[in-house]
Symmetry: C2
Subunit: 466 residues, 2 copies
């Protein structure tokens, strides 16, 4: 049922997508405007709203006991706050000129049109599923949604064999490798790139590679999967590359995601080179006064290179939602962009990056020096001072920090935040050498590893451009 557009006395906001960006936007708008001023209808095709996809590897790995812990706010909770959230209802068309969306109830098959005054597109991303023979076989699992996670857990509980192959070695791939190790599996990671974690430069990826092998994970790099073999009952049996065959009782796809923008594209909305929606800084779809978009379906401005990127990450989606919710409700907020910070871990190894890799800097036309230093996360004499490696890039002539990559033990990863703030502020590595960072032996050597790297970068720049 939808009221006819002309008869409505209050504004109606329609939200497409009931996860982080969409429901943050809806919730923020609701806090700013009550149900008397603003009607909010949200459509979600899945079974869950506002869940932490980033938490799925830890649920599968057993660190998080219960699926429901990953749900930040249930559909009932949203409804209790005055948001008409319609679950299992897929939006199948955006009629931008007519200011309405068409939706289908996935249970009943019923379709209807819903008019809007303001529209938020938060359709998220979809996992890359290469069209390989056998990719849809039982025992092959993505891990994007809670349903995916549950299906994988069901498979694990039914499967006797203990051989897992993870395809892909980015964040999801390495986190799922850890999860399967924690579940007691023999794990092989099959990776297309020269080293795992292509979000790092290969020299830093090599450190991750070595550490993963040290954990008993078999790492296969430079390997293109050509097909997935099935056996008894059509179930997965092996993963085949150009060079070899890897027996598998379960296969996890960790290949990454692409913006889910088919609806937006069909409606003629502007997409970027990564196929994500393009917005202005207020997260409004470019050229469209009353349409906003956020989360995994948009491209974001990279503040270091000045170009657009696609980054699927819950923390950005939440920020987008806040900004959209404020603007939709007549307030003012912006999302200025990202510097590309990410942090992850494989067992005790922490991996972090922010800013540009060498490849990114080259692509952006920047010339730079790069330094790599070894240090410890605490004072060397303090117990459990773990080694950490920091790579730092700085631009020639300006001396501006361009990026930092970190691989190391406990306490290494979140140090990337120091560099993230410095990048945001446009600091030079010279300025960074005198940063007043927290020092005490249990927390840091007297020169924090980030300061050591900055000092080396200053020296390197001085040698190159005296």
């Amino acid at each position: 049922m939808s009221m006819s557009h002309g008869n409505r006395t209050k504004e109606r906001l329609v939200v497409v997508g009931g996860d982080a960006a969409g429901m943050s936007a809806a919730s923020r708008a609701r806090r700013l405007k009550g149900p008397d001023e603003l009607e909010i209808i949200a459509f979600e095709r899945g079974h869950f709203s506002s869940f932490s996809a980033c938490g799925i590897p830890y649920w599968v790995g057993g660190d998080v006991a219960d699926r429901d812990q990953l749900i930040a706010r249930s559909p009932e909770e949203h409804r209790a706050r005055g948001i008409d959230l319609r679950m299992r209802t897929e939006v199948t068309e955006l009629d931008v000129d007519g200011r309405r969306v068409r939706s289908r109830d996935l249970e009943s098959g019923a379709e209807e049109w819903t008019p809007y005054d303001k529209l938020v597109i938060a359709t998220g991303a979809r996992p890359v599923r290469p069209p390989l023979p056998g990719i849809d076989a039982p025992g092959v699992h993505g891990v994007q949604t809670l349903d995916d996670g549950q299906a994988l857990l069901d498979t694990l509980s039914r499967t006797e064999g203990r051989r897992a192959v993870v395809i892909g070695a980015g964040y999801i791939g390495v986190e799922m490798a850890e999860a399967m190790i924690n579940r007691g599996y023999e794990v092989t990671v099959v990776n297309r790139g020269t080293e795992p974690m292509a979000t790092l430069d290969p020299d830093m990826g090599r450190l991750v590679h070595d550490a993963m092998e040290g954990l008993g994970i078999t790492m296969v790099n430079d390997a293109e999967v050509t097909k997935i073999l099935t056996g008894e009952g059509g179930r997965v049996r092996a993963v085949v590359t150009e060079d070899a065959e890897y027996p598998a009782d379960v296969v996890v796809l960790g290949i990454g995601v692409r913006p889910e923008t088919a609806l937006a594209e069909a409606a003629g909305l502007p997409l970027g080179t990564h196929r994500g929606l393009l917005t202005d800084l207020a997260m409004r779809v470019r050229g469209h006064e009353d349409i906003w978009a956020g989360g995994d379906c948009v491209e974001v401005l990279d503040l270091v290179s000045g170009s657009e990127r696609h980054i699927a990450l819950g923390t950005h989606a939440n920020k987008h939602g806040q900004v959209i919710g404020s603007n939709v409700a007549g307030g003012y907020a912006t999302f200025p962009g990202v510097v590309g910070t990410a942090v992850s871990k494989v067992c005790d190894l922490e991996i972090a990056r922010t800013g540009l890799r060498e490849k990114d800097a080259h692509r952006a036309g920047l010339r730079f020096e790069s330094v790599t230093i070894e240090a410890t996360s605490r004072a060397g004499y303090y117990p459990d001072a773990d080694p950490m490696t920091v790579k730092m890039l700085a631009e020639l002539r300006t001396g501006r920090l361009l990026g930092v990559q970190i691989v190391g033990g406990e306490g290494a990863g979140k140090r990337v935040d120091i560099a993230a703030v410095a990048l945001t502020a446009g600091m030079t590595v010279e300025q960074m050498t005198s940063l007043d960072l927290g020092y005490a032996p249990p927390f840091s050597p007297v020169w924090d590893p980030i300061l050591v790297a900055a000092r080396q970068a200053v020296s390197a720049l001085r040698r190159t451009t005296p």
Copy 2:
């Protein structure tokens, strides 16, 4: 033996004080200029060079097994690098007009004058030892030097009783309380202030208080020590305040330090309101072309309030030394100032601060809003997500960040670095709300606690100054 000034063909640098600032300066200068160009003579009255005073509580507490681990570079190592380091030799007079220093060999009593072309003053700080009856009794210990630490350890090994009283509840006091707990002592901390950790606002200090009591430490606040009672053999027996008497088998003084500037004052060099030497940004003593000073004997510019402070901290001393060494050797470097970052821990409780407390902001004439938020160090659903409290101050109208205080579990403390960089960059809390900080469930909730505090600060400012 010293060459007469007029006959020297190369420059001579004289360094007064053989610890972090002095020996960093000497080492940096030596790297930039070889022995043929620059002669370096350094005087140290103690038995050790370049040691980590910050590590002493962990040595006393048993986390660090061996004293020598706290020595970054021994006198022999310095000498092998071409620095004429004279141990147990106290400088007793600075003759600024005559460009020479008088020193006394503490073993032989022999005195001599040593001319200099360039002088570095790095005389450090001395512990506050109030002139209380009994303060010099056996069993009462400071913990500033390695000799102090050894003397305390000797006392502990000889003492049967297990009651320790720590006087003072700043960094040294709380770290020594932890050390004595780790040694199996019953610990009472007697504190002059209303709460421990006067470098925090009292509301945050209260959290430290509660946590310390939770560790079984007896906390006595608002208590002025009036005398120390001695018993058998003149040894310490109890600490007496205006209101009570606390039995003690050992007493640790953790009252803080003052700049050691008697020599500099006698020489007519400029001191600030905290009795520290005043320097320019190149760490040159104001008004003196060829005299530099750094480390615990100088005052530093607080970049947030714009006024001078005295902060005795190894990480600053090392930076000062690097800057001085570069400048002495004809290079160029500056130390722009501090934002007042510090981090510490008591057992599993992490304590950190940067920027201004409420009191500092009032004193600096700043009007501000203050918010305090509760969060967790990791995603709430992730194992070992420890609670953390963040207090944030932001200036009215400009919205500029003024300070952050953190008390919480593992992973809480070093987050202060995010705020330290933001303060250095002069960021507003609004700008901070979109910082691209590292997010993954084992490292942070989807909104990092610093972001949560920044958002609350923005809301608070909006309410006050719409």
